[in-house]
Amino acid sequence: MSEPINANPKILSLEDLPTRSTASRDIFSDASSPKAIFPYSALDDAFPPRPLYEGYSSLLLLGENGLSGDDIDMKMAPELSSGESDVDDDDADFDEHEPIDEQEIYDLISTISDPEHPLTLGQLAVVNKPDIYIISSKDATGRRQKISRVIVEITPTITHCSLATLIGLGIRVRLERCLPPRFRIEIKVKSGTHQSESQVNKQLNDKERVAAACENQQLLGVLSGMLATCK
């Protein structure tokens, strides 16, 4: 391997990378308990949802009310749960919608490894969370429209980095594989961070050229190496 283009890049510590806060997680299924910020402890398992019937449903045949009437048709008894969807879920709210957000995009691409360092794009600050934009317009009823745009601006480690296109291509391939087709993906070099910005941008968003690049076996090999570290 030839001498790396930037032999000594600046590296971020893993602790400083943005992560999804665990704060929103409700750890106790006991409905009476307040939502808790509960980041780091084994107590999760230690507070079992004891009083809830669900916990016992596989250990007992009858529920609390199952013994009340003498002629219940067992098929009717709700506790026996022939039910459609009664696998306990961590947060039992089935309607809860978790839309795809910037952090999720960041998590998808920040673990791609750099083609010349044994580090990830997140650690090298090539990919930064504030430089990821999701744009989805809302229609008249206020509902989000299906078609959305994802814009990722990358920051090459040095302004003459010839690998910027390769990195951009890696991000594009990763996102095309991981995002549903309703997303339109745009990869750009962050303004002012590369000598030949417009050239690189043109290359990265030209469908024909991207498709052609993905036919190149050697290039594809490099790409799959970069994507192998994705978590």
Partner: protein, 1038 residues
């Protein structure tokens, strides 16, 4: 002496070495018993010993050697030994027989009566007559063994022929390459180098050793001797390091090897230099420090490969320690150490004090390594270097966070070095040690790290983490910070745990508090506990009046308190405080969840400490169990009191029971006996028991019959079940008639409606049957009680009665299946029959699962008998019958029941038991994938995933049926809750690895296409699984 015997030896030597050995032993025994004279033995061999045929000569000599080595060491007289050795020494010239004559000499050299002159002549003969080059590896080995024997047994004699021995041996080993021989050669060399006068031969001895450096040997795969490259390296290293006389040759030669491009050679070289420095002593090493330092420093400064920089640091530390050893606590001017330190500091200071430089940290690492070598070096470096670093971050407030971070990293290296030299705090009050040279910088260090932790913006996580870790290191330095400073650090850490939002900071702060607590539990008691406990919400004070700052949820505080129980005394105090808190909350009568969390904290610590067997729990068993049991009983008797609502609440009783169970099970049989008596007084004979506090004892005894039908005190049974579960099987059940207790409990269980109580009763009966029913009683129990239950389950008019009977049957059945009892299968038969029952079929599907599922009470840790093959037996029994039942059933409901029953069983059976039966029920499994029941679907998909790689042929055959179903299960719809979708995606992700490529390949494009849907799932966890799954298909070859 019989010729015959000797002939027998010679003949059997070729055919059966064992037999030859026996013959030699017999001859030796005869000589030993004076039945044969030694001379006679030799004479009868005489003809063969001089035979024309070398083969015969070899065998004859072999016979001599074998007999000699079988003789006891004091049998032969000095003269006999001399005569024999003379004979054998003559034979040394007979090249064909060298191995055998050496064997004979080895045996002789071990004889007790051997004379000095004989030893001397043997040695001289070997050195003079043997030419190793002509012999194979095994023969050379035999010769080395002779020398090895002489060197180890008669070193004084060999020292008297010093010159001959040294030169003779170096000549002998020239060109040796065999690893096993080298092992013995190196150990002889080491003895010679260490014990002989080698001044004149030092160069040739050094060359004889060093010509093997570096060892590049790699053992062949079928190596019979099991010698590794490392064995040889260590032996050779010992030789090179054996004498300081080698210094003038070894250091230059080793330094030359450092230029090698191989990391392995570098590593070996550095380790060898370390060994040399260690052994040669300060005076010798002092004259070589400069060459050594200059040749290794680059590995640290320019961050060499792998572990090389760390090894070099170790080298520098050893070097410093060695050249400091003769010197007083202060560096003596113009000593070697002085020059060394001046050179190193002169070189590194500019870099350490240039925080922008990439070499700042490596340079600090190098200096820190040196300062870890001796007190003098440490203090000198601390005095000179640290002020430079301080001035950078103190004076210029303009220092960027990145620069300050580097500064903290540098200082942390020096603190670490200081700790490794001056020692860390330990729990026991230690003896006074010398004053740490870092003490002169104590204040700036302490302030700098405190400031970095406390007054840096909270988003600078890694920087604050560094500060936190540095502070803790300072706190742990032996005799460094005083109590008030430790207290301050503990408070900062408290603040982080209680108010910081970053996970890794909080985690690190909590761990650090624990570390501090381990060396000084008072910190936890005096500083941490009061702060944490005061942050817990107090029911008597309205929330608004309490603290102003936003605080974390009480569960975080409680779990932190649990983490900080560093010893039994701390935990004891915590339990007292928490039980007081519990009483307050209970009196308030509002917050069950809070009360449960408090009690769970007590449980959590017991769980951890019993799991790792760290503490003897007897103390807590004696103090806590009566307290908790008494508390629950009082609450249940005084129903009208506000605290009863809390204490007797089922979610509280559940935790109380868990604590009682763990404590009872952790103590010895003797301790359990008295407890068992007392608990039976409360529950069975209804007498006053010492487990209840004295003031309520008789009142409770007369007011409660917790096990009587219709008494209906909720929760009390659960405690009894937990206590009984914890009793050892050997602890006799404190009531003589277990059979009647178990039988009498059945109607109680059938009439109990409250869920926790009924479950507790089911478990209690199962425990009694499993642990204490004798074989005969078990039969009686099955014949009467179980038969009765069975007829109720099939024939009762009341559905509720049928269901509860079936439920109890399942629990009794479980306990019998675990026990390995044949009669369990009568119950199993009934349950399987009931799968076809129009009304109770669904109940039977659950019973199928209950019969074999694991349970938190009825399990091995509660001393329940669980036969090794219980699951296998049950599964084998059921699977065929369920398949038949499925095939012969007509209506869809019954078919469905069989599928659900099967899936309920499969959930509890490990994959390797399932696989042999898979062919027979795979069709059923595939059908259950199309059921809408999500439990069944989940169990089925998980079964397929678990068996995939071990049953790949079978699955491959059905891949076209399985795949569409699994792909359908990834769709977001009501019958596929997120868990099912994730399970389906995980199953798909395993396919490419588990099945042959050509099976999966045709479906690849289709799978990738269909997975796009899951990429847009509403749940993040599903999308994550979809992304990972899709990636495995993209990454597939082709």
């Amino acid at each position: 002496m019989e010729r015959l015997v000797i002939d027998k030896y010679l003949v059997s030597l070729d055919t059966s070495p064992d037999e030859a050995d026996t013959v030699a032993q017999n001859i030796a025994n005869d000589i030993e018993a004076n039945k044969t004279r030694l001379i006679g033995f030799i004479e009868s061999l005489g003809r063969y010993l001089t035979d024309e045929d070398s083969g015969i000569r070899v065998k004859a000599l072999s016979c001599v050697a074998a007999v000699l080595s079988n003789l006891s060491t004091n049998k032969l007289s000095s003269r006999q030994i001399a005569m024999l050795s003379e004979f054998l020494m003559d034979r040394l010239e007979d090249e064909q027989c060298l191995s055998e004559s050496a064997g004979g000499l080895l045996a002789l050299s071990k004889m007790r009566n051997i004379s000095t002159s004989t030893v001397k002549s043997i040695a001289q003969a070997v050195f003079a007559k043997v030419d190793m080059k002509n012999h194979n590896q095994a023969t050379r080995y035999a010769v080395y063994l002779v020398i090895d024997g002489l060197v180890n047994g008669h070193i004084a004699v060999l020292q008297s022929i010093n010159e001959d021995a040294v030169s003779g041996f170096t000549r002998l080993i020239a060109g040796e390459k065999d690893p096993r021989n080298l092992m013995i050669v190196f150990s002889i060399l080491k003895i010679i180098i260490e014990n002989f006068e080698i001044e004149n031969a030092k160069e040739s001895l050094f060359d004889a050793s060093f010509c093997y450096f570096p060892i590049t040997f790699r053992p062949p795969p079928d190596d019979p001797y099991g010698i590794t490259s490392d064995d040889l390296k260590l032996k050779l290293r010992d030789c090179i390091a054996a004498s300081s006389l080698f210094a003038e040759y070894s250091f230059p030669s080793l330094i030359e090897k450092l230029t090698s491009s191989s990391t392995n050679v570098k590593r070996d070289t550095i380790l060898t230099i370390i060994a040399c420095i260690d052994n040669y002593g300060g005076v010798v090493v002092e004259s070589h420090w400069e060459k050594i330092y200059n040749s290794v420093k680059f590995e640290v400064l320019h961050e060499g490969e792998e572990d090389i920089p760390d090894l070099v640091c170790k080298l520098l530390r050893t070097l410093t320690a060695t050249i400091s050893s003769n010197i007083a606590p202060k560096v003596i001017k113009d000593s070697g150490l002085d020059k060394f330190l001046t050179a190193a500091m002169g070189e590194c200071f500019p870099q350490v004090t240039n925080l922008e430089s990439r070499q700042a940290k490596p340079a600090a690492k190098l200096l820190a390594a040196i300062s870890g070598g001796s007190f003098a070096a440490h203090d000198a470096i601390a005095e000179t270097i640290l002020p430079g670093v301080f001035s950078l971050v103190e004076s210029t407030s303009a220092a960027t966070i990145a620069q300050q971070k580097t500064a903290l990293e540098i200082l942390a290296l020096f603190i670490e070095a200081s700790g490794s030299l001056y020692g860390w705090r330990t729990g026991n009050a230690s003896e006074k040690s010398r004053g740490n040279g870092l003490l002169i910088h104590k204040d700036p260090l302490f302030e700098l790290f405190c400031r970095a932790l406390v007054s840096t913006p909270s988003e600078e996580v890694s920087f604050r983490l560094l500060a936190l870790q540095g502070l803790v290191k300072l706190a742990l330095l032996k005799e460094f910070l005083d109590m008030s400073e430790l207290g301050m650090i503990a408070q900062y850490l408290d603040d982080v745990v209680l108010s910081d939002t970053n996970d890794s900071l909080c985690e690190s702060a909590l761990l650090s508090l624990k570390d501090l607590g381990n060396v000084n539990p008072d910190i936890i008691l005096n500083t941490v506990f009061p702060t944490f406990l005061s942050q817990l919400p107090d029911p008597e004070i309205p929330p608004i009046a309490q603290s102003h700052s936003p605080r974390k949820h009480y569960r975080i505080i409680l779990s932190s308190l649990a983490d900080l129980c560093v010893n039994k005394a701390v935990y004891e105090i915590l339990t007292v405080r928490l039980l007081n808190k519990l009483a307050l909350i209970a009196k308030d009568g509002q917050d069950v969840a809070y009360a449960q969390s408090i009690l769970t904290t007590i449980l959590l610590v017991i769980q951890r400490k019993t799991a790792d067997k760290e503490w003897d729990m007897k103390f807590f068993f004696l103090s806590l169990t009566p307290k908790l049991i008494s508390m629950t009983f009082t609450a249940s008797v005084d129903r009208d009191q506000p605290q009863s609502r809390i204490i007797a609440h089922s979610s509280i009783v559940a935790v109380t029971s868990a604590i009682v169970n763990l404590l009872v099970r952790s103590v010895s049989e003797e301790d359990q006996i008295e407890f068992a008596k007392q608990i039976c007084k409360i529950y069975i004979t209804n007498e006053p028991s010492t487990l209840i506090q004295e003031s309520d004892r008789s009142r409770i005894a007369s007011a409660t019959q917790p096990l009587d039908k219709g008494f209906g005190t909720e929760g009390l049974v659960e405690i009894f079940t937990a206590a009984v579960a914890g009793l050892r099987r050997e602890t006799a059940f404190p009531h003589p008639d277990v059979l009647s207790i178990a039988s009498n409990l059945i109607p109680v269980a059938l009439s109990t409606r409250n869920i926790p109580d009924r479950l507790a009763l089911d478990r209690l009966i199962a425990l009694l049957v499993n642990k204490w029913l004798s074989k005969d009683d078990e039969d009686r129990f099955v014949n009467s009680a179980v038969e009765e239950l069975k007829s109720r389950a099939t024939g009762s008019k009341s559905m509720a009665d049928r269901a509860s009977s079936l439920e109890l049957l399942a629990w009794v059945g479980k306990s019998l299946i675990f026990k390995g009892s044949r009669r369990a299968y009568e119950t199993v038969d009934l349950v399987l029959q009931l799968l076809c029952d129009e009304y109770i079929g669904k109940g039977a599907t659950k019973a199928c699962g209950i019969l074999i599922s694991g349970d938190e009470i009825v399990n091995k840790s509660n001393f329940v008998v669980v036969r090794l093959l219980a699951k296998q037996q049950y599964f084998g029994y059921c699977v065929q019958r369920i398949v038949e039942g499925f095939n012969s059933s007509i209506d869809s409901e019954t078919k469905r029941n069989h599928l659900i029953g099967l899936s309920n069983i499969l959930q509890h059976i490990p994959g390797k038991i399932v696989i042999p039966h898979l062919p027979s029920f795979l069709p059923l499994l595939l059908q259950s994938l199309s059921l809408s029941d999500s439990h069944v679907k989940l169990a089925t998909i998980e079964t397929i995933t678990a068996t995939l790689s071990d049953a790949s042929d079978l699955i491959s055959e059905h891949i076209s049926t399985i795949l569409p179903h699994i792909l359908d299960s990834t769709a977001d719809k009501a019958s596929n809750p997120p868990k099912v979708r994730v399970a389906a995606l995980n199953c798909l992700a395993v396919l490419p690895r588990a099945l042959p490529g050509e099976v999966v390949q045709p479906y690849r494009t289709e799978i990738i296409r269909r997975l796009a849907v899951a990429l847009d799932d509403s749940r993040r966890a599903v999308r994550k699984a979809a992304v990972d799954c899709r990636q495995t298909y993209f990454a597939m070859d082709g």
